[in-house]
Structure formats: C-alpha cells, structure tokens
Amino acid sequence: MEINVAQLFDSINLVTILPEIILSVFAMAMLLINVFIPAKNKTYLTWLSVVGLLGAGLATVSGWGQTVSSFSGAVVLDNFAVFFKITFLLAAGLSVLISDHYFERENCNHGELYPLIFFATTGMMLMASGTDLMTIFLGLELMSITLYVLAGFNRESLRSNEAGLKYFILGAFSTGFLLYGMALVYGVTGTTRIEQIALTINQYGISQHNTMLLAGMLLIFTGFAFKIAAAPFHMWTPDVYEGAPTPMTAFMSAGPKAAGFAAFLRLFFVAFPTLVVQWTELLWIIAVLTMTIGNLAALRQDNVKRILAYSSIAHAGYALVGFTAANSTGSSGILFYMLSYTFMNIGAFAVIVLIGKKGESNGSVYDFAGLGQKRPLLAATMSLFLFSLAGIPPTAGFIGKFYLFSGAVEQGYVWLAIIGVLNSAASVYYYLRIMVYMYMKPAENEFDWFSIGAPVSVALAVSAMGTLIPGMIPSCILQFAEQAVKLI
C-alpha cells in the first residue's frame, strides 16, 4: 500500500488527541519543575496535577457530541472515548489527591509519581480512542509500563518491589498473547484498522469458524482478560494490589480496568461482530468464573486491601455480565459501572490510606474496630462506599448492577443474571464484615494518628457525591453512557 505523505498529514487533526497532549506536556513540565524546585513539601504537586487533569478534562468534555477520525483512522474522537476519558481522569485525579498523604507517610514522596500517573492516563486515553490495533497496543503498553513502575514505587518496601516485578513479568507475558492475537488477525484480514477488519471479514466472507481468526480473537481476548483481571487470568491481582502503594492500588483497580473494558468493548463490537456467538459464549463462562472466584476468595480475607483486591475481580465479573449481553443496556451499564466503581472504590481506598500506619501496617479489618465511634463521619462515608460496592440502593453501585444484569436478562441470559445476584448477595457478607468492625466492635484505637488533609477531604467528598447522586438521579449519567455506546 502506498502512502501519500501529504494525504497522511491532511488526516491529522490534533484536536482528537488534545487531552492526551495536555497531559503529556503537563507531565513533562512537572518533571522539570520537580527538579528545579526541590521542596520538602510536595503538596503543591498534588494541586498542580489536579489543575493539569482539570485542563485535560475540559478539553475532553469539549469533544462531546463529535465524531472525528484522525491519523488515517488510527484514533477517533467520539462520545464513547470521551466518556471513558472522563472516567480515567477522575480515577487519576482521585488517586493523586490521596497520594500525598500516603507517600508522605511512607517517606517516598518522589515527584516523579505524578508524571507517571499522567503518562499512564495518557495510555488509557489512547486505548479508549484507538481505532487501530496498533494504537490500542501502544496505549496499552504506555499504560502498563508506567503501572509496573507505579506498583513498585515504594523502593524501600519489599512487597511493593515484589508487586512491581510480578506485575511486570505477568503483564509482559499477557501482552505477548495480545500482540500474537493481533498479528493473527492481521494475517487473516490484512489490516489493523478495526473497522476494516470487520469490513474485510464481511467482504471476503471469512467464516466464523476460520481457525486463524478464532485463534487471533481468543488470544486478544486472553490479553484483555488479563488486563481487566478476569478469571482465570486474575492470579496476579491480589498480590499486586496488596503490595502496590495503596493510592496506586486504587488507581489500578479503577483506571486500567476501565481502559481494558474500553478497548475490549470497541474492538469486539466493531471488529468481531460476526463472531459474536463465539465470544459471548466464552464471556458467559468467564463472567461466572470471575464473579464467583473473586467473591469466594474475598470472603476469606482479613486484610481490607486484599478484600477490595478480590472484590475488584468480582466487579470485573459483574461488568462482564453486561458485556456478555452485547446490547446497549449492558454496554451502557458497563460505562456507568466503571464510572461509579471509580468513585466508590477509590473512596474506599482513601479510607484505607487514612487508617493505615507507616509500612502499610494497620490494614486488617480488626484495625477498623471502633471507627464508627471515634470518627463517625469517616465511618459513615466508608459505609456509603461499602453499601455501593455491595450494590444496595440508593447508591450508584446498585443502579450500575441493575443495568448490567438487566442487559443480561433482556438478552435472555436469565441464569447469568441469577448467578450474578447470588454472587452479589455473597459479597454482602464481606462488605458487612468491615462495617461490623467499624460499628459493632469496641474501639481499641483512638484513631488519632491521622488528620484528614485538604486533598484527601476533597477526594472523599467527590467520591461520596459520585456514589450517592447517580444512585438517586441515575439519568444524569446514564443518558451520557447511552449516547456513548450508540456509536459502537
């Protein structure tokens, strides 16, 4: 294929990647600032990051309602991408807000943290707007490599190092699968543009039983299943989530998972609509496995961070239920759920950050005993997040699950929905367990070793509102989620 250079440049519209550009420039600027202003107190970097993220957010929001393809169709700006980008920016923003407190305590408040988060976010954004296998892959790599660093960011901590290394080795392995799958798909269709893939499959009547195409699809599936921590590719999650610095765990459980779903959804809906029977059958099984394994394992944990790690596997399973439905109810449910999950999960992690002591000690459920007595407002906020994670109205978590399971029922997957709600009922036990310790056990601690600084307060307030308001007036977000999935 001959490439006309002039034509290529014509097709470039920088507006499509404006938020990514803002983030990258800001990240590099912050790296420099960090070198030239060596301050003891790094809180200013937190606020600076928030400014950068808000800027990128404004640029993102202004793209709502457009559909602009650019870079010869490698990147697209559409509602789907915008919705997910907002989710990533919120995940990054909330994580940044709770980082300062944590890294100050752990004595490793290095300024590189914030640029790294920015780069990871840029990678996620490219995944959401990528319409070419290569763009998606590059975005994924940018995200993953920075996440490996972030997971091992606490150099002094052995567990953090272990988390980083483990994530890196397994992540690299799974990326291999993904790339191999992409190569096979390219081999069959001769293109990496995801729209072209579907067109070629139709045009040449490539059968849905074509072994190479199926193998390619399966390998891509495996790669994404790893990224979103779906069983049986979830083994890395608990260790990495537990070992990584808590704010980064919060970030990893919300942002990259959403990014994984963004690329996963776009790729499978746009490129492989002819294989829908095959991949929904597969998804059915994976969804059941993921929900059940995540919830059963979480029942047996004592460490709150580990509970949330396993529960994040279960939540990926719920989202997969919506994916299996492969209809607009289920897909808009995924979008809504990823956004709500960002709020409720990072909110819960913020509380863990506060309760924890140096060296990540004080993180088991027993250490929450009496929080309700000593810090009633904090405990009430935590309860709100936990109720939302458990899917109890009137919270966003309930509405999200309602739409995910409705999608499945609408499509005739009633049993899948039933397994889903039963899982949800089982999950209530371990969320309640944390509340039991907070409210129903005598206080052993005074909870006086931490003060809630401004950044964490903002994070908690935003998360609480993001959990409660969409729970009561869901239309305010659902209508956008619905428009976002209309395009794919």
């Binding site: 007595q373 109720f387 109890i392 609408e410 709600v421 039991v436």
Partner: protein, 525 residues
C-alpha cells in the same frame, strides 16, 4: 393537598437533618426531636385516613417521571388504597411508640439510633405507598440498612450474628425478586408497557410456565420476610437480639412487608401460579402455625417465645390471604394490623421487664402480679388479644382467616390450623402463669416498680385499639373491602383455566349470620 403522601413519607428526613446538627450527648434533645418528628408524621398521616374514600382505586396518587434511561422508565408513582391505608397508619402510629419504648434503654449513640429509626420509617412508608415496582424495590432494600444497624449496634450479646443473618437472608430473597422484576419488565415492554408502574402489569398476560418462575422469585422474597417456615430462622435471632424498638418495628411492620408483598404483587400479578402454589403455601403456613407454637412452648426466654408466636400469627395471615375469598383476605389484612398491635405490645412488655431486671428468662420471674398490678392488667389484656379471645382484636382476625380458609379449597388446612389457636392459648397462658403468678420468691423481683407514666402512655393506645378492633372492627374492614374485592377479582380471573376450582366468594352478608354481631357488621354499601 395533593402530595400529602410524599410529605408524610419524607418528613422523617427533616428530623434526620435536624438531628445531624444537634451535638452528640444531648440525649434529651435528640430523643425529643425524634419523638416530635414521628408524632408529626403521624399527624400528617391522619388526613390521609380521614380523606380516604372507600373505593377500590388508588388515592392521593402522585406520579412524576424519575429515571428514563435505556429500555427503562421508572416513575415516582405513589398512592394508597384499602390494602395499604391501615398499614400506613399502623406504621406512623407505631413509630412514636417505638421511639418512646427505648427512651431510657438506649444510652449509647442516641443520635445515630434515632437517625436509624427515622430512616427506617421512610423506608417502610415508601415501600407501602410505592406503585412503581422499581421504586418499591428501592424502598424495600432501603429498610434493610437502618434495621441492620439497629440490631447490630444496639442489640444484645449475639447481635452481630443476628444482624448479618437478617441482612443476608433478606438480601438473597430480594435480589432474586429483582431479577424477576427485570424479567417481568421485559415481558411487559414486548406487550407495550412503557414503565415500571404496577397497574400496567396487572393486565399483562403471562403464560403459566413463566408465571411459575416469576411467582417463585417474588414469593421467596416475601416468604423470607414474613417469615414462612422453613425460612423463619433469622427471625427469632433478630427479635431476641434487637433492642425493644427494633423488635417492635420488626414485628409490627417489617414482617408485614412480606404478607403485603403477597397480596399486592405476587398474587394479583401471577394468578395462575398463585392457584398452582396455593396448596404448598398453605401446607407451609399450617406447619408454621403448629411448629412455631410447639417451639414457643419450650422457650425459656420470653422474647424468643413472642418471636415464635409471631411466626405462628403470620402463618394465619398467609393462610387467610391464600384462601382467596373475602373473609380470608379481610381476615389476613386485619390480622396484619392486629399482630402489629398485640405483638408490638408484647415486645414492649418484654422490654419493660428486661429494663428492670436485665433478664428475660421465664424462670427468673414468678409472682409479679402482686408487685406490679397495672403491668399485670395490661399484660393480661395483650396476652388474651394475642391468643385471640373474643372481644379482642385477635379474635376477629383469626376467626375471619379460619372461616375464609374453611370456605375455600383449604378446608382441611383450616381445620388443622384451628388447633394452633389452642396451642397459642397453651404457650401464652402458661408463660403468663409462670411469670405473673405463683410465689414472689426472688428478692430481686420484690423490688420491682410498677409501670411509670411514660410506659402507661405507651401502652394505653395499644390497649384501646385491642378492644376497639375487637368489638367494632367494621370501620377497619369496610375501608379495605373494595380493594380486597379487586385483588380477588384479579387473582381469580383465570380460575377456569386451571384444574383448581375454588368455591364462589361468599358475600359479606352471609358471613355475618355465622359471626357474632359484635364482630362483623354487614358492609354498609
């Protein structure tokens, strides 16, 4: 006032907001604010009662769009009819009593406690007035959270176990109901229904296979809440551990959610399945009545005894509902109110002696009659009402239920269930005898004080109602009648399609011939 129902339902939220701004530790102020809020809610609910017209339609209806996204449309659609009017009034009536009942017993975290009680009231009222299935579900789940905290924080020794058990039991049932609800909605959209409004679904034709599954999912949720044998095991735990107010609300109102669910949702929505499952449900109710009575007999703890008597009473209610004739349904409905009054009163009484002696074991008492005459009188009246002695409210309900069941296809079940009345007399009177009569031997008991003014004020309205409903139940029955007839018409409409043939409804006039004139008057219209 067109939005009086919303005003009533959300008024406790105002109380919650006020409570939030009162500093901790001002227990007197906190209690007073909660009491005033509940009384105000009761007063607001009175125009609903006085303005209520005895017709089958929903009244005081409010209907505004709420959520519209994807294939769904949910509306804020509320209203009441003859089924809910008394349940709503019962709720607003019991709440001030519940607040008063733990006036001194709850010393710890009074603020949070009162907030929980008020939120619970919002949930309960909301669930009763909802005419949108989704809205109903939200309120139904909303009740769980405050009750969980009330049992788990202010409960007895084994409270955490009881609270978690309560929560998870209810949650499993209600989540399956949620799936059924979604399924029902998509059935409806295929038939042109555009929102979750309950009335839409009444007219939906569903094939009998689907009805079976949907009915099972709904019935499971309601049977757990009732609770029906063998799903009742959470109830004795929850009742025993909960503080007095928790037990009173649980018995008086939360359990009614289950039976209310049957009459409002499960039965009229799935008539064929109702006919199909009537024998099974009747068997379970009768087992519940007899089994719970036997278990109650051997209890050493008064509160546990009352809890098991609850299971038996709710068995009558369910039996009455599934008799599916006018006597049965009216009996079931009035028995729901009666049970709220008399079992609520019993839990209050248990609370009174527990506050004084910090024990509830029957063996720790004896001869209290000499020491506490006022208490004894009230206790006796409530006990008789719980047994169902003529002249008290319990008689009217149980008589109508058994009569309705006898006249329906459930004749044999009614005959067996009647023995439950005798068993109730055995365990209640035996307990009463052991606690109140005999020698006043225990020196601790010799120091017992009789009821104080607050406690008498709490009990007085309940005792009055026991006699009012017992002697002149007609105003209560009359208001329900058109709605009950409507439920029967909806639920029995497809009888000819099923093999189960039910006897014709017996008009209220013939009923009065067989009942003492004091109990039921012929319907005025």
């Amino acid at each position: 006032m067109s939005n009086i129902l919303s005003l009533m339902t959300f008024l406790p939220i105002v109380g919650v907001l006020v409570l939030l701004f009162i500093p901790k530790g001002n227990n007197g102020v906190l209690r007073t604010v909660a009491l005033i809020t509940t009384i105000a809610t009761f007063i607001v609910s009175l125009p609903v009662l006085s303005g209520f017209q005895t017709i089958a339609d929903f009244q005081f209806v409010e209907n505004v769009p709420w959520i519209a996204a994807g294939p769904f449309a949910m509306r804020y659609h509320v209203g009441i009819d003859g089924i809910t009017i008394w349940l709503v009034i019962l709720t607003t009536f019991i709440m001030p009593i519940a607040v008063l009942s733990t006036w001194n017993a709850v010393e710890d975290k009074v603020k949070e406690y009162m907030i929980c009680l008020l939120l619970l009231e919002v949930g309960m009222l909301g669930a009763f007035i909802s005419l949108d299935l989704f809205l109903f579900y939200i309120f139904w789940e909303l009740m769980l959270i405050p009750m969980y905290f009330i049992i788990g924080i202010w409960g007895g020794k084994n409270r955490v176990y009881a609270a978690v058990k309560f929560f998870i039991y209810t949650m499993v049932g209600s989540l399956l109901m949620l799936v059924a609800l979604i399924y029902l909605y998509f059935l409806g959209t295929n038939a042109g229904i555009t929102d979750f409004g309950l009335v839409n679904f009444y007219n939906l034709t569903i094939d009998s296979g689907t009805q079976t599954w949907l009915f099972l999912a709904f019935a499971l949720a309601f049977a757990i809440k009732c609770p029906m044998f063998p799903l009742h095991t959470w109830l004795p735990d929850a009742h025993t551990e909960a503080p007095t107010a928790g037990s009173v609300i649980l018995a008086a109102i939360l359990l009614k959610m289950g039976t209310y669910g049957f009459i409002r949702f499960a039965m009229p929505l799935f008539p064929e399945a109702t006919a199909q499952f009537t024998p099974l449900i009747a068997v379970l109710s009768v087992i519940g009545i007899i089994y719970a009575a036997f278990v109650a007999m051997v209890q050493e703890d008064v509160k546990k005894l009352v809890a098991y008597s609850s299971v038996a009473h709710l068995g009558y209610v369910v039996l009455g509902l599934f008799a599916l004739n006018e006597q049965g349904l009216s009996g079931g409905m009035i028995q729901m109110v009666n049970h709220g009054i008399s079992t609520g009163a019993l839990f209050l009484i248990v609370g009174f002696i527990y506050e004084r002696r910090h024990t509830r074991l029957i063996s720790d008492f004896g001869g209290l009659a000499k020491q506490m005459p006022i208490f004894t009188t009230i206790f006796m009246i409530v006990t008789l009402s719980s047994i169902g002695v003529p002249g008290t409210n319990g008689f009217v309900g149980e008589f109508l239920v058994l009569m309705g069941a006898y006249e329906s296809s459930l004749r044999w079940y009614a005959i067996i269930a009647t023995s439950g009345v005798i068993l109730a007399a055995v365990y209640m009177l035996w307990m009463f005898q052991r606690v109140m009569f005999g020698e006043l031997e225990n020196p601790e008991n010799q120091k017992l004080q009789d009821l104080n003014i607050r406690e008498i004020i709490i009990m007085a309205p309940l005792v009055v109602l026991i006699f009012v409903i017992g002697v002149y139940p007609n105003p209560f029955l009359e208001k329900m009648q058109p709605s009950i007839q409507k439920v029967i018409a909806k639920t029995r409409v497809q009888d000819q399609n099923t093999h189960l043939v039910m006897p014709e409804t017996i008009p209220m006039d013939s009923l009065t011939e067989t009942m003492p004139q004091s109990a039921v008057q012929p319907a005025a219209n």
